[in-house]
């Protein structure tokens, strides 16, 4: 946004971070709300739910959109992992995709825990992050781009314009980076192993997915001259 006025990406980013709205990723679902026009959306996060139900005062009776079938309050539930599964899924085979992701987490965990147990001193042990979800979240966070390129047609010719996007879009693009790096895998290598190595790399800010993000940023920097087309 501020890019057109000659600021660097860094300044642009600062602006974006300030503008970020602190709502959960999945509080709204357009498809669902379209489907149930006459229904009230239900609360889709445990934190919100706990905040809403503090006392014994009965709430208003309304017909609500039922909770999604992957949503759960169990310890094993994680929204970002579910989002990842939904993006990775092909032909509606969710259970299969879930198994793959479980394999990925298992691989990550195995590798990290092995390192942990191999480490001799406490200091070394403290360095190893053994929580697979932490690694996973970190990797996704590292792959999120700050700006994306959007093609805008002006005067008959298209321009690739750097555009900032909201949190959900960034998450999706980041996840897609990770998934797309695995397209080039060899035929007999299982997807889970490739994904696991990729995620571990991304967690350390290395690897192809992060490279893609940097590539995108560079392109954005290069195209900043067109940034004003965003408003015109």
């Amino acid at each position: 946004m501020a890019l057109c006025k000659g600021k660097t990406i860094y300044h642009t980013l600062l602006g974006i971070y300030k503008q970020q709205i602190s709502t959960s990723y999945f509080s709204t679902n357009k498809v669902l709300s379209n489907m149930y026009k006459d229904r009230v959306p239900s609360v889709q996060s445990i934190g919100e739910l706990n905040a809403l139900c503090i006392d014994d005062k009965p709430v208003e009776k309304k017909i609500r959109i039922p909770a999604k079938s992957e949503f759960s309050s169990a310890v094993t539930y994680d929204p970002i992992v579910q989002k990842f599964i939904n993006i990775l899924m092909r032909d509606g085979k969710k259970e299969k995709t879930r198994e793959i992701i479980e394999q990925v987490l298992e691989n990550i965990k195995m590798k990290q825990i092995e390192n942990y147990h191999k480490a001799t001193t406490d200091a070394e042990k403290a360095m190893v992050v053994t929580d697979p979800l932490k690694v996973f979240h970190g990797a996704v966070e590292n792959c999120k781009p700050l700006l994306i390129l959007k093609t805008i047609v002006k005067g008959g010719s298209g321009y690739r314009v750097p555009v900032y996007c909201h949190e959900r879009r960034r998450l999706r693009v980041g996840i897609n980076f990770i998934i797309k790096t695995c397209d080039t895998r060899k035929r007999k290598v299982p997807l889970s192993t490739v994904l696991a190595t990729e995620i571990l790399q991304a967690y350390n800010n290395e690897g192809n997915a992060v490279g893609k993000k940097h590539q995108l940023h560079k392109e954005c920097e290069a195209q900043r001259a067109f940034a004003h087309y965003r408003w015109k």
């Binding site: 094993t76 987490l105 965990k109 979800l133």
Partner: protein
Amino acid sequence: MASVIYRIVSKQPSGYCINSSLLRSSSSLKCWQRCVTTFRTEISDPSEHSFDHEGQFYTIPKKDVQKIFMLNWMSPHEKNMNKMFQEFSILIRRPALEVMDILKRLNYNYPLTRFLLYGEMNAGKKFTMTHIMHYCRSQNWVLLTVPWANEWNCKRLDVSFNHHKESLFDLPVHSKILLEDFLLKNMSLIKEFTTSTTYEFSEHEASEQGIPLTDLISFGITRMKFANDVVGALLKELQILANNDKIKLLVTIRGINSFWRKTGQKKEKVQEIHAQQLTLVNQFMELLQSDTKNAVAMCSTESWVNDVTDRKSYLPTELMGKEGVDFLEPFLPIEVPKYGNAELQSVMDYYIDRRWIQAPEAKTLDGRAQIKFLSGHNPYQLYRVCVPL
């Protein structure tokens, strides 16, 4: 550092159980810290295990793991787990203790005793067998293991006609693997023994009387064509040795119900080979039916052998059929059940210790209850549920 604290050994006999009234007072980490001392025992010699140790983990020494289990017995996944935890610990469970108790009291002059382990899928039959094998090894038994009998049926490897009996089929590759495994496991125990008779494998090749047993085996390994015959000779030799009180023999067969199934293999005019037509199966069945002294057979029925459609029941007759039961009787059926509550808690403690469970909310009582619920008391499911935690 934490692991150091938890490894305090309690030598008291522990009726290990999370006492609910005790724990209900506070659902914090302190509770499991209090109980955690009992999930592990330092006694690594299985002969000293008694019913007091039930529900505790013990670690198999690394040299034993390398020697007995590493080559053929452990699946790749188990090897990975071993690598990850940097140790090979198994839970001491009632069925294994029961079998060991019987083995301690058994009169070895009686003909061969057959144990049959049965239980649901992933209920822990294999690790029960592992425990018993370790016990037998600690008693210097000779171990003859068939890690996965169904492999003879499934894998499309070379099938050749038997030279001596035309209706039978040899599996040279499998026989070779079996011999290698046997040699690795029992090298130190059998190197003094020699063969009792001559074995003629073909017109030109024969093994003379009085050559060391290891030579016979290595002959089988190098000359794969005769590997299957060598297995037969070996089994006969082992029987003779056992009958002469020189060795004690433990025969372990995983998935014995595959003996009464069709194989997926074809050979020339024979459309589909039945497992009963395999030389290996015949040789092992002969061994199991013999009156050998000083020998124990430990078999297990596995639902995995069957097709997906008939895995409804895990009980022996359902899996083996009447033929199998008639062949095996009298046998000692030992059920390997799913985890009980106490065992479940112990395993979770172990996982927490080994960092398989690390999410703080999973370590609370509530989290444990959820894991228990999701796993359905099934050992493997328990492991899987904890993957993202």
